[in-house]
Amino acid sequence: MSLLEGISAALIGLGLFFFIAGTVGLLRLPDPLSRLHALTKADNLGLSLVVLGLLPHTGGLLPGAKLVLVWLLVLAAGATAAHLVAKRTLRGDGEDAR
């Protein structure tokens, strides 16, 4: 395994760690806002590190640019979604009617 592949695998592994931590946080944390905090870590850091790990092996400028485009889109969408969900939580929509 070359050095580049090692770095790439380490970055993907680190990204997976953030995804796992985010999922555990989403399941274990006590209230919606702290769960949102865990979720945004998984979204931003997890996917960013996975994309960073994949970038050296795209083999071209255009495929690499597409990966970065997906990354930027997820960053923007994740930030917007976190704000919208937090606003809705703060406005106090209660538990589901059963």
Partner: protein, 88 residues
């Protein structure tokens, strides 16, 4: 390298399936939205990892569409309640 990518994709599939438990439990609609958002992002990660691993570069385009649709879905979910409140 493909082995690592497929293994990472499998781990991501496992975490996104586990995260769906939050969509099942709730208790607030926001929690369900968060679980769906985590599923969307993990799904994008799975597609990005599988694309080079199985030699289908078009999967990156699918991930791009996923990213767009996930954003639209979250906005629609959060605005729905506000529109309902205004009409009531």
């Amino acid at each position: 390298m493909p082995e690592i990518q497929v293994a990472a994709a499998l781990v991501l599939l496992a975490t996104m399936s586990t995260g769906l438990l939050r969509a099942l439990w709730g208790p607030t609609p926001s929690d369900r939205m968060m679980a769906v958002q985590l599923m969307g992002t993990s799904g994008i990660g799975v597609l990005l990892l599988l694309g080079p691993a199985i030699g289908v570069p078009a999967l990156v385009d699918v991930a791009l569409v996923f990213a767009l649709l996930a954003a639209v879905a979250i906005v629609a979910f959060t605005r729905r309640a506000e529109c309902a409140a205004e009409e009531a």
